[in-house]
């Protein structure tokens, strides 16, 4: 026994040690592979779409209206329609969601009523979009008598995005250290003074990021607007920025893509692909904006 320990030089590799390191390398490669597997589909989808869409992708495609029964021309009415729907739905959902989240995170105690609200928020976030669509149809189109219109569609999208905005805002608020709040309360600041002075300035970047990320979700949804206010075709002027009234129905990118892909025979292939590229482009741009905003605001705050 004493001999064997004397023979082995200190700190040299053992057989078991080599096996451990081999497993470690295998694990690392597997994890790397999975991480790459996330990126490859995204990159290949985007590359494939752009490749197929190339013949139709140009400035004219963006600002022109669909022609020849949507087989040619551009997507202007759908692009503007999407901006309308997303803009109005966020204008409704963001203030309600953020203020509700502030209440839930900063004021609400732990009692049955607030637990009920929490439960409602969580469940609402899990409701499928087609169910939201039916709800919007019943509530806004029929019960509220808004008819099939931009307003009905936007409100439906707002209801859909609301719970997620509440959840992301609460997360942003919760990331503000409790000690900041205690510091304020201990000099006799009210909750509202504390929120104004400390909580909001330190969570605004997270709140805005959460709200902006809902833009991409709202822009991509088809079912809720199809049931409540989006149409196949709407005649508008080329390049017209305000072609719709709130009570009009409108076109939208997601809906337009669905129409081209399933309803219009003999459509030029590149037109549908180009529509998808524009939709994807809008979503990616907005997401990139959210990331940039977060980085910019994070660099300004330090604790």
């Amino acid at each position: 026994m004493a001999d064997r320990t004397a023979i082995a030089a200190p700190f040299t590799q053992t057989a078991f040690g080599r096996r451990k390191e081999r497993y470690q390398r295998i694990a690392q490669w597997v994890f790397l592979g999975m991480a790459l597997a996330m990126i490859i589909p995204l990159v290949s989808i985007v590359a494939f779409l752009i490749y197929r869409a190339a013949p139709s992708l140009n400035w004219n495609f963006l600002v022109d209206i669909p022609r020849h029964g949507m087989r040619d021309g551009g997507i202007w009415p759908a692009l503007v329609g999407t901006f309308y729907l997303v803009g109005i739905s966020l204008a409704v959902a963001a203030p309600i969601g953020v203020l509700a989240a502030i209440y839930l995170n900063e004021y609400a105690g732990d009692n049955w009523f607030n637990r009920l609200i929490n439960l409602a928020v969580i469940n609402l976030a899990g409701v499928p979009s087609i169910v939201h669509a039916l709800f919007g149809l019943g509530a806004f189109v029929y019960a509220a008598r808004f008819g099939y219109s931009i307003i009905s569609a936007s409100l439906t999208l707002a209801i859909m995005t609301l719970p997620v905005i509440i959840a992301s805002t609460r997360e942003a608020l919760a990331s503000v250290p409790q000690s900041f709040r205690e510091a304020c309360w201990n000099v006799g600041a009210t909750r509202w003074q504390t929120i104004k002075a400390v909580v909001l300035p330190n969570s605004i970047s997270g709140i805005l990021t959460g709200v902006i990320l809902q833009v991409s979700r709202a822009a991509g949804e088809t079912a809720p607007i199809m049931f409540t206010g989006a149409v196949f075709y709407k005649a508008v002027q080329r390049g017209d920025f305000f072609p719709y009234h709130l009570t009009d129905q409108c076109m939208a990118l997601s809906m337009h893509l669905y129409t081209l892909a399933t309803q219009v025979p003999d459509v030029k292939e590149s037109v549908s692909y180009a529509t998808a590229v524009v939709l994807l482009g809008v979503v990616l741009l907005v997401n990139a904006g959210a990331i940039a905003l977060r980085i910019w605001m994070r660099n300004r705050k330090r604790w």
């Binding site: 510091a183 006799g188 003074q193 002075a197 330090r302």
Partner: protein
């Protein structure tokens, strides 16, 4: 009702429950004005809980229930007409970890004034004066007078803790509560805070919770020993350390438990 100075803190029959757990049992103490009083005892003895009763910060949690009286400036702070905001203005608190707000040094100090004054009445000269006075009082003015615009969270820990004390002063508090104010500081920082406490003594009633018996011994005038939610002994600090009356106190300061 009490025969001591009216300016201290006087508790009578104070009981406090966390849910069903009785954390303070029938606490009667008279903390004298202008002195440094330390609360010592093993973990979980209720010293921090007692400290937190004095500005009613415990009540943030709905499962806390309090019974009995605490008189400060001759007023029972549990009376229904007491405004928590006004109470906390007179009874300031310093925490274990320095918690300056993530704004400038200047804004940290005037924060209390801003919170308690309608916006338009605050003159710049008045705020400037308050900042200089508070920083001078905590011996930071020389170091920081040219750095008033720096973020308070970027200061050294010791400076942060002094700033947290300075932040209370413009509100002219009567009582300063300190919850282990030196536990995140090094030896130098601890010494500086202790010196500062001595400088503030007289003008303010200072109550300090500490785990560090040596600190209680060198930095306080009176000492309260607590065990399992009860006050076991309250006397002058030398007296408590040299000649403890309660056998439990004696065992604790000898380090037999705790």
């Amino acid at each position: 009702m009490s025969d001591t100075t009216p300016n201290g803190i006087h508790t009578r029959g104070l009981n406090l429950w966390y849910g069903k757990f009785l954390a303070l049992k029938n606490v009667d103490v008279d903390i004298k004005h202008g002195l440094i009083t330390s609360l010592i005892g093993p973990s979980g003895c209720g010293k921090t809980t007692l400290l937190r009763c004095f500005n009613r910060i415990n009540e943030r949690f709905s499962y806390v229930r309090t019974e009995g009286k605490i008189e400060i400036l001759g007023k029972n702070i549990y009376d229904p007409d007491v405004s928590l905001l006004e109470l906390r203005k007179s009874v300031g608190m310093v925490f274990q970890r320095p918690n300056p707000l993530p704004i400038s040094v200047y804004e940290n100090i005037v924060f209390g004034l801003r919170v308690h004054t309608p916006g338009l009445r605050l003159k710049k000269s008045l705020l400037d004066e308050a900042v200089e006075q508070a920083l001078t009082e905590v011996r930071l003015w020389k170091d920081l007078k040219n750095r008033l615009k720096t973020r308070a969270t970027s200061l050294q820990l010791e400076q942060q803790q002094k700033l947290c004390i300075a932040r209370l002063l413009p509100l002219k508090p009567r009582i300063i509560l300190m919850d282990e104010p030196c536990s995140s500081l090094d030896v130098e920082g601890t010494r500086a805070i202790e010196e500062l406490m001595f400088n503030l003594r007289g003008n303010y009633t200072i109550v300090i919770v500490t785990h560090n018996m040596a600190q209680a011994r060198r930095a306080s005038d009176e000492c309260i020993f607590m065990l399992l939610g009860e006050v076991k002994e309250h006397t002058r600090t030398e007296e408590l350390f040299l000649n403890p009356q309660n056998p439990k106190t004696a065992e604790y300061i000898e380090g037999r438990y705790g």
